[in-house]
């Protein structure tokens, strides 16, 4: 399939990327090339093959629900944000 301008705008929205106009044209070309390349898997017969999501037969890993000391404290973590107040991260009005 060929990637269009409309596809790029849709993917940018899905990706939460507010792209400037000058980025759109090159992305149409690049994504079209990449999608063209990965489409070669069509040649492979995968009927009846089980998908692999991870390399090992890993099961759920359980642990006791006990409180452990974390190496960073609340202040360290709050200091990473641009704006905080009363031990909470401040964001623009949502509603």
């Amino acid at each position: 399939m060929a990637i269009t301008r409309k596809d790029v705008l849709h993917l940018a929205e899905l990706s939460n990327l507010r792209l400037s106009e000058d980025q759109i044209e090159p992305l149409i070309k690049d994504l079209d090339n990449i999608v063209g390349y990965i489409s070669q898997l069509d040649e492979l017969d995968t009927d009846g093959v089980e998908p692999t999501y991870q390399c090992f037969d890993m099961q759920n890993v359980w642990r006791e629900d006990v409180i452990e000391e974390f190496e960073a404290n609340r202040e360290d973590l709050l200091n990473l944000t641009v704006e905080s107040e009363d031990h909470q991260i401040k964001v623009p009005k949502v509603l």
Partner: protein, 462 residues
């Protein structure tokens, strides 16, 4: 690798490394240095040695971390604008283990932003130059780590390998690179790229050093539930292969592979024969689909992992914006490099409704076929041999305008990641113009030490 003791001071080792880093500053191996703290630690280790205390197996050894490892000294940038002022509140398990053995981190090595790339040209801070030829790329994404080792600044450096990011730069700079079995080393405290493929390993100068470093950083970590029980427990000489048979992947001797590279693979195969191995060619037709499988699965996981960068809790936030949607959108536009954006968008494409089955699910099924082909081959062979990259290091800027050309770099390195297998990159020769060429040995899972044993044996007996 020189370890500090009563006669060799840690301060001297660290100062020499820092001086060399300065001497080779124009190669841009590092994003930031850890000078004051490294010298403090070296003094402390010297004092402890003087008192006769045990200081660890890597006492006073200076090393570099790829700047996607978190550690409280300075900032962890992942070579991105998104994290260019991110003081990490935690320490990666691998870093903590090295420091506990007395190793001293002297600086944070350059990489492609978020480890997306094969040349370190996607770094927000500019590219790293090849240790042998300043007009060429260092490879990527662990380009800074590889060049720093090849230039002799540090005896080893940490890297991460999702599709070749340790092995390809190692190969381009003529040093050793170890991508371990998936789950060998904890991923805790390393910036996530593609979680089913990400592995942590090292770049160093020889098999013994690689073995020592890996034996320290390997092992189960409650903070990363995908880690395996520690299997890196043998002496290197005890990790002998059972069959002494090696398969050369025939499909990677011609199409798209530089003749000088194929020649190097075959000459390494001859060395293996001289060292007593039975070597034969094996055809694995599924391998040529590896890159397409990888460039579906990896971007899908990248899109998911990078969705956390929203400008709210940490990292860059776009200025002067008052509504939430614009903060997300503008922050991500400003914080990511073009290659990060391409991967996120391709990932969301293959995961989006309507295309999921045709791309993502198809790739997951093809991944099974690839794993089956490996399993079958390992019934006969201890390890498989092929080149790391299709050609020696290319010129800076040569591939930056064509992302797909850049992806082709990874055609032979992504395979081990897709199957979760160990692979070691070994310096094997040079092109006529003097550029290093590396080969890789790929083995069954947990055969990491066997691969190193073979490589060491070949070097000693050929």
């Amino acid at each position: 690798m020189i370890i500090a003791d009563k006669n060799t001071k840690a301060v001297g080792l660290v100062r020499a490394a820092l001086d060399k880093a300065k001497e080779y500053e124009d190669y841009h191996c590092f994003i930031s240095m850890n000078e004051a703290r490294a010298l403090d630690r070296a003094r402390e280790i010297d004092e402890r040695i003087a008192k006769g205390e045990k200081v660890g197996r890597l006492a006073g050894v200076p090393y570099a971390i790829k700047d996607n490892y978190l550690s409280p000294e300075g900032v962890t940038t992942a070579a991105s604008r998104m994290l260019d002022n991110f003081p990490s509140p935690i320490t990666a398990t691998a870093v903590a283990k090295l420091e506990a053995e007395g190793a001293i981190m002297i600086g944070r090595a350059n990489l492609d932003s978020y480890a997306h790339g094969s040349s370190t040209e996607n770094s927000y801070f500019g590219p790293t130059l090849n240790a042998r030829d300043k007009e060429r790329v260092a490879g990527g994404s662990s380009g800074g780590s590889a060049a720093a080792v090849a230039l002799g600044i540090v005896p080893f450096a940490l890297g991460s390998d999702t599709g070749g990011s340790i092995r390809q730069p190692a190969s381009y700079n003529g040093v050793w690179g170890m991508k371990p079995t998936y789950g060998t080393v904890s991923r805790y405290g390393v910036v996530a790229m593609a979680s089913s493929l990400d592995t942590m390993g090292c770049i160093a100068n020889n098999a013994e050093d690689v073995d020592l470093i890996m034996s320290i950083i390997a092992g189960k970590d409650p903070k990363d539930s995908t880690t395996l029980d520690d299997f890196w427990t043998r002496e290197l000489e005890d990790a002998k292969p059972k069959k002494k048979t090696i398969g050369i992947i025939k499909d990677f001797l011609k199409d798209g592979v530089d003749p000088e590279v194929s020649k190097t693979v075959l000459s390494y195969a001859n060395k293996m024969k001289k060292a007593g191995y039975e070597v034969e060619e094996i055809s694995m037709p599924i391998m040529k689909y590896g890159l397409a499988i990888y460039y579906i699965i990896q971007p899908a996981e990248v899109a998911s992992n990078l969705s956390r960068y929203d400008g709210i809790r940490y990292g860059h936030r776009a200025a002067e914006i008052t509504d939430l949607d614009s903060i997300y959108g503008k922050t991500r536009d400003e914080g990511f490099m073009p290659e990060n954006k391409r991967r996120i968008m391709v990932g969301n494409f293959v995961l989006s409704s309507g295309f999921f089955d045709a791309y993502y699910l198809k790739a997951q099924k093809a991944r099974t076929l690839l794993i089956n082909a490996y399993n079958e081959a390992f019934e006969k062979y201890d390890a498989l041999l092929c080149a790391v990259a299709p050609a020696p290091a290319f010129k800076l800027g040569e591939k930056t305008d064509d992302p797909l050309q850049m992806y082709m770099e990874d055609m032979m390195s992504v395979l081990a990641n897709l199957a979760g297998l160990p692979a070691v990159a070994i310096p094997a020769g040079e092109s006529e113009s003097g550029l290093p060429i590396g080969v890789q040995l790929i083995g069954p899972r947990k055969s990491d030490q066997v691969l190193l044993n073979i490589a060491k044996n070949v070097e000693e007996n050929a």
